[in-house]
């Protein structure tokens, strides 16, 4: 059985301008100890998906339907008390911006201990010991002294380490990382990714990694969900996705990856910008930006169907399989040729 099974999850926000369908029917599952990558542009609904699972959207003006089954219990229908028990204990979360995610008026030791004390019936001293242990595990130098420092005394990368320590302090089964490296500089990004990867092995947690960076996905994910405009465009095990990408949007993402080994005038981009979720385009949501657009794309929404006979690889596109395979091959051949 999967650790977490999300079925047809929908999150709508009521706003003054109308209903924003931030997540519109997303289905995926996370296996024990595995890493699921969710990739997509800004505003594609990746973060909202996770905040919904964590129950962190404000209740007011939010409509949530679907299921998120956590070890047999539906997170979306759970009492807030039970959800609090799980949150920070079984399911923990790391946020995008470490600069603002820590409370400026408490020491990091206190904020870490708080997480322990909320879920374990232990003394403050033991909680502090556990906090220190985690700070060492995430590689904070001189952790014994720094545990009594305040967040503003840490750099961005160090704060993200503190956030990771805080998330792992109760040994969660699932770690949700919402673009954990976006706000960091490139060298720090690699360190943080390696750290998450290493800690995942040590702690045996499953990870949901939200990112807009396919490079990150290639590096640490086992399975991938590609989201576009609140829906799933393609989902597959990571190898399949990179070997046989089957959605024009995925091709676009792959094609726009910058490469160090080739000189280019200008980075390749997907033309246009993501649609408004207030009033998404009819039919396939990607059709206004899709170079392969056909008549049917403008009227009918493509269902999520297996690619060939591979049941683990799903995509929502009207193109026929032969064309897809040919295009994917062309794209990959191009990428290979460039790198030679």
């Amino acid at each position: 059985m999967s650790l977490l099974e999300v079925k047809d999850l929908k999150t709508y926000f009521r706003t003054d301008d109308g209903i924003v369908k931030a997540v519109d029917g997303v289905t995926f599952s996370v296996e024990k100890g595995k890493t699921l990558g969710i990739v997509g542009e800004s505003g594609s609904g990746k973060s909202v998906t996770c905040l919904t699972i964590m129950g962190l959207n404000s209740k007011k003006n939010t409509i949530t339907t679907g299921e998120a089954i956590w070890k047999g219990e539906d997170l979306l229908k759970m009492s807030s008390r039970r959800l609090r028990e799980l949150r920070g204990n079984d399911v923990a979360m790391i946020f995008q911006d470490p600069m603002t995610s820590l409370n400026p008026v408490h020491t990091i030791g206190r904020q870490l201990s708080e997480a322990v004390l909320l879920h374990q019936d232990v003394s403050k001293k033991i909680a502090r010991g556990r906090a220190l242990e985690l700070l060492k595990a995430v590689g904070i130098p001189r952790a014994e002294r720094r545990i009594d420092d305040y967040p503003h005394q840490f750099s961005g990368g160090m704060r993200q380490r503190v956030m990771i320590a805080m998330a792992l302090v109760n040994d969660p089964d699932l770690l949700v990382a919402d673009e954990p490296t976006t706000a960091l500089d490139v060298t720090t990004q690699a360190q943080i990714l390696n750290l998450i990867d290493k800690l995942q092995d040590d702690f045996g947690s499953a990870v949901i990694m939200i990112t807009h960076d396919l490079g990150v996905i290639a590096e640490i994910a086992d399975d991938v969900v590609v989201m576009y405009a609140a829906r799933v465009a393609e989902q597959a095990p990571v190898d399949n996705l990179f070997k046989r990408p089957a959605h024009p949007y995925t091709w676009g993402l792959l094609g726009s990856l910058p490469r160090l080994d080739v000189e280019v005038e200008r980075l390749v981009q997907i033309p246009g910008s993501p649609p408004s979720l207030l009033n998404p385009p009819r039919g396939c949501r990607f059709h206004p930006r899709c170079p392969y657009v056909m008549g049917v794309c403008k009227t009918t929404e493509p269902p999520l169907l297996p690619v060939g006979d591979d049941a683990s690889h799903l995509t929502a596109c009207h193109l026929d399989q032969a064309t897809k395979d040919a295009e994917a091959e062309k794209l990959l051949a191009g990428m290979m040729a460039e790198s030679v």
Binding site: L86, A92, T100, S101, P104, E114, A115, L118, H119, M166
Partner: protein
């Protein structure tokens, strides 16, 4: 250093303004039917025959070296005594008022931030608008008319000493003291609570949207703990600054409230001093007010270092 400059600037301006006013304090001192030489003698006696800068110099020297504010022009009382007699009245009004307005503003502010657009929030906003628009004199008069005169629940005006009432005083002791201060406190409460409700509401709302509040929730903290240890502490930081400044400012004289309830505090003393062209008394209040503002700002700065770790290192 900055405080000294401020202090000199304020007293100097007061001095200069006083001498621009076309009135001769010596004439008032000498009396109605005084002959010119009497006025001259009076001027010399109270020291206004010297040039302004010399007078100011004498005033500063006396203040800095002897800690003495001089004697009143009109009744020759020592100004130190006048200010010291008036200060407790104003202090009672301001600090008591501050306690009441915070007691009222904190819960209302927080509750309306937690339920924006709820009935309570809207009622609070109505109250805020009334409190901000209403003049203290009007509120004071309404209060003393209804509670003091019509209902007879409270005294209409006056002040009682807490400790050692002077012989012959009609009342005294803590009970009478508090009883007489109820209406002035309430007036102060309405005025300031309105401002504070709005500030607290805005700050709490803003803090509720902070990332670290979401982090706290993601940790599994119950709402009460999120509020207590993450939201309030941060939301109250600017309120502390505001409170310190307001108290310092109000100590300089809550003129209107004091006048309505006939409290012989600093505000009334200053107004009386101005009406009788009594420079030393007016200056005495100004000096006291300036000092209290400076001291309270200093106090707030120090307090800030304690409650906000980001300031500590700077």
């Amino acid at each position: 250093m900055w405080a000294c400059v401020l202090f000199i600037a304020v007293t100097l301006v007061t001095y200069v303004i006083f001498f621009i006013i076309p009135a001769d304090p010596a004439k008032l001192v000498a009396g109605k039917n005084a002959r010119p030489e009497d006025i001259k003698r009076a001027a010399h006696y109270i020291g206004v025959d010297k040039p302004v800068y010399q007078q100011y110099w004498i005033f500063m020297k006396r203040l800095v070296i002897h800690h003495n504010l001089g004697r009143s022009f009109s009744n020759r009382q020592n100004v130190n005594d006048i200010v010291l007699a008036a200060a407790p009245v104003t202090a009672t009004l301001v600090f008591g008022g501050a306690i009441f307005w915070m007691l009222l503003a904190i819960p209302i502010g927080i509750l309306s931030a937690l339920r924006p657009r709820s009935l309570l929030d809207r009622l609070a906003m109505v109250f805020v608008l009334i409190g901000i628009s209403a003049h203290p004199v009007w509120i004071g008069l309404i209060f003393s008319y209804f509670f003091g005169y019509r209902l007879g629940l409270t005294p209409i005006q006056g002040y009682c000493d807490v400790f050692n009432p002077p012989p012959g005083a009609s009342c005294g002791g803590p009970v009478d003291w508090a009883y007489h201060m109820i209406l002035p406190w309430m007036t102060f409460m309405i005025l300031f609570a309105a401002l504070y409700v709005r500030m607290i509401r805005a700050n709490v709302l803003e803090t509720l949207g902070e990332d670290y509040v979401r982090t706290a929730r993601a940790k599994g903290a119950p709402e009460s703990q999120v509020m207590k240890s993450h939201v309030l502490r941060n939301a109250m930081l600017p309120i502390v600054t505001m409170l310190g400044m307001d108290i310092g400012l109000a100590l300089g004289g809550a003129v209107f409230t004091e006048s309505i309830y006939n409290l012989h505090g600093l505000g009334q003393t200053a107004v009386l001093g101005l009406q009788t062209f009594d420079l030393p008394t007016t200056l005495g209040v100004v000096v006291f007010a300036t000092l209290s503002i400076i001291l309270f700002n200093l106090f707030v700065d120090l307090l800030y270092a304690v409650i906000d770790p980001r300031i500590r290192l700077a």
